[in-house]
């Protein structure tokens, strides 16, 4: 028989056990978001392909053709796509995750389940989009007859890093949004800026050396560089300080995000 003790001013030790118990909910909520996403749209799932396609086109045009950024001998669309994969995943994940609690406020006010699941499951949609865009990348590489280098074995690590970064930032924003709806405005803003502050449309090697470290404070710099390095090979040398910074920052954001979320979670139902 399950026994539950709830006492004022004491957090439950059951929390992680509950997360395990509700693990299926994680997938159900993700499944719901996926199902609902393209209902009543004309183009449907093709949006998942159209969006990256159009973005790659625009960025190639602006940075590659008009801005004449160096490409290191690589096809510019490929360069852009490698940067855009993790960026688009990260940016949609943090917006979805950030909004997840507020847009499901009726659930929070009426049903108990670990709220962390709600914020985490909203990343699933972005991840599926990421996988679809990856198929697009494979097609593009075949088109340019490029074989990924051996460094490609490190790709899963960078995917994991992007995942953790999305979760960590997502938890922070979700928890803050419950109390401060200001983040509804801040997040799209940050995402818009971030596109230019991260090496998506260009390579980070174009950043002057003296600003490189400062530039690398953006955790996405290390992650995007990592994607390019592992997919396109040695021309895109890894800038190690950026990677180290990224890993440390992501770890800090994730841990603090979970802690902050846990701390504020208790009052979500009262505040939302």
């Amino acid at each position: 028989m399950t026994e539950l003790l709830v006492e004022a001013g004491r957090t439950e030790g059951q929390y992680w056990k509950d997360i395990w118990r509700y693990r299926e909910l994680f997938f159900f909520l993700g499944w719901r978001d996926l199902l609902v996403r393209y209902k009543q749209t004309v183009v449907g799932v093709s949006w998942s392909l159209l969006r990256p396609l159009l973005t790659v086109l625009i960025l190639t045009l602006v940075f590659g053709k008009l801005g004449k950024m160096p490409s290191g001998g690589l096809p510019y669309p490929l360069l852009v796509l490698c940067g855009m994969l993790p960026w688009q995943f990260f940016s949609t994940a943090i917006s979805d995750s950030g909004n997840s609690l507020v847009s499901n406020s009726s659930l929070i006010a009426k049903i108990y389940f670990p709220r962390l699941i709600l914020a985490a499951s909203s990343i699933i949609t972005s991840f599926v989009d990421f996988l679809i865009s990856s198929a697009f990348l494979v097609a593009l590489m075949v088109w340019y007859r490029l074989i990924p280098p051996v460094e490609a074995v490190f790709l899963p690590f960078f995917v994991l890093l992007a995942f953790c970064a999305s979760l960590g930032v997502g938890f922070w924003i979700a928890a803050l949004m419950v109390r401060y709806r200001d983040f509804r405005i801040i997040v799209p803003f940050v995402v818009q800026f971030g596109l230019y502050l991260s090496p998506v449309g260009y390579q980070s090697s174009v950043v002057p050396v003296r600003f490189r470290l400062l530039y690398s404070l953006n955790p996405m710099v290390g992650i995007i560089d990592g994607f390019r390095w592992s997919l396109l090979g040695a021309q895109n040398k890894m800038y190690l300080p950026a990677l180290t910074l990224s890993i440390l920052e992501v770890a800090a954001i994730l841990v603090s995000g979970v802690l902050y979320f846990r701390k504020t979670e208790l009052t979500f139902a009262d505040v939302i």
């Binding site: 539950l4 709830v6 118990r21 159900f28 609902v36 049903i111």
Partner: protein, 445 residues
């Protein structure tokens, strides 16, 4: 000896009203204040903490519920019933005290939370089941039962946004009803849905209770509580006001609710004001207490600024277990030609066949077209029937439990095997006053 299912000790929940006001301002205050003058900000924070108004939604609640007990929780809106259920469901955390729950718990605070309008009935069954804590295997196993209970087979693959509200509620309750918890916590969820379905839901909850599981049930429907529960808990001002058998507690609650303020109503759109509703006895004197079998006059005083033609007035006499009898112009057709200026409408209920209990009078006024609701159906007055039934020839062993009997008694005769005929009627056998009153126009006109 049955084991405790829920043990609550000194539970309290405080809401800070001032704090919620600050939340509306959003982050600006928090940030701007902190950046401009950190010192002043800290000081003001400390001060504002003092200024905040604390509101205890629930305080010092101690309650034990044994396994297999079915407990009905009653109280007025805002008394703290829902807060208690929210705490027990772990939606929010207590400010003080603690509670322990033994057994798998499911709580149903609202029907259909977690339903997604764009998804089909089938998809929503899975989603809602998962949200309520079922595993996929459990849902699959119960799927057919759920569909059958909800009666929506034909619409299983239609998005629920196309459902009628009845279908929606049926499906939502069906999912929740097939959770298989040891402890079920249910808030006022039956307020929606038609009466046939409400009965079905209550039946399901009854099965639940009979199979030895624990149920906590909040409702404003006293009849439902009495049918379902053995024990009643009355929450008032955030505390347990009374705890006892369901008859005692609902009876006391109903009586206290009856002692409340006078009714008046204004419908500006129709220019109709109901000034008061008086209850009078057979002698035309205003009264709150009546004898069984006495006449009851309901007198409605109104002021009509606009002409209201052919209105429909309906009155209902309602006891603790529901409607007893009504007078309805929509049925009998005796509608006034019009209401204009100040006036009165009265209704004389002859020899009310009611046992000594508490009753309320409900009233509704519609316009010429029954679709025009001028005064919605609501309680307008309360009265008690009191008297010693021995005066009426009653002599059964259960006389002292008369407050819990079916309230309406039409005259009847027992014809016993030995040939005796025993006539029973709520008419005083010796009552000179009443006899003398016969023939007097009770309206006093």
């Amino acid at each position: 000896m049955s084991q405790a299912a829920i043990v609550i000790e000194g539970l309290g929940k405080r809401y800070t009203i001032g704090q919620q006001k600050a939340d509306v301002d959003g982050m600006r205050h928090a940030l701007e204040g902190a950046i401009r003058a950190p010192g002043a900000w800290l000081r003001s924070r400390r001060e504002s903490k003092l200024k905040q108004v604390d509101f205890w939604a629930l305080r010092n609640v101690t309650l034990n519920v044994n396994q297999g007990e079915v407990v009905g929780i009653i109280g007025k809106n805002g008394a703290g019933k829902s807060t208690l259920l929210k705490l027990l469901s772990r939606i929010t955390v207590p400010t003080e005290g603690r509670f322990r729950i033994n057994g798998r718990t499911a709580s149903l605070l609202e029907v259909g939370t977690g339903f997604h309008h764009e998804l089909t009935g089938r998809e929503n069954i899975f989603l809602n089941g998962a949200i309520l804590g079922m595993t996929r295997a459990e849902i699959r196993q119960k799927f057919d039962e759920i569909v059958e209970f909800s009666e929506i087979e034909d619409f299983l693959d239609t998005p629920v946004k196309r459902y009628s509200s009845g279908m929606y509620v049926r499906l939502a309750f069906a999912v929740a009803a097939h959770l298989n918890p040891e402890i079920l916590i249910v808030d006022e969820v039956l307020a929606v849905g038609d009466s046939a379905f409400q009965k079905k839901c209550l039946g399901k909850m009854g099965d639940f209770a009979e199979s030895g599981r624990t149920v906590l049930f909040v409702s404003h429907n006293l009849q439902a509580i009495r049918n379902l529960c053995q024990r009643g808990v009355w929450i008032k001002d955030g505390q347990v006001h009374q705890d006892g058998t369901v008859e005692e507690v609902t009876g006391a609650y109903f009586e206290s609710a009856s002692g409340e303020t006078k009714f008046s109503w204004m419908n500006a759109a129709y220019g109709l004001k109901i000034i008061q509703v008086k209850l009078k006895n057979s002698r035309g004197i205003e009264a709150r207490e009546f004898q069984p079998g006495e006449d009851l006059i309901v007198e409605i005083s109104y002021e009509a600024d606009q002409l209201i033609s052919r209105p429909i007035v309906a009155l209902g006499i309602v006891g603790i277990s529901g409607s007893c009898f009504t007078a309805n112009m929509l049925l009998d057709g005796h509608r006034p030609d019009c209401l204009a200026g100040a006036g009165k409408i009265s209704c004389l209920f002859r020899s009310i066949p009611l046992l000594p209990q508490s009753y309320t009078v409900k009233m509704r006024i519609q316009g010429a077209d029954p679709g025009e609701m001028i005064v919605p159906y609501q309680e307008v007055a309360h009265f008690d029937v009191s008297g010693d039934l021995a005066d009426y020839g009653y002599q059964g062993e259960f006389l002292k439990h008369v407050r819990h009997s079916t309230p309406v008694v039409v005259p009847y005769d027992w014809m016993l095997p030995d040939g005796t005929v025993a006539a029973v009627a709520l008419k005083r056998q010796v009552h000179p006053e009443y006899e003398a009153g016969v023939g007097v126009n009770p309206f006093g006109l």
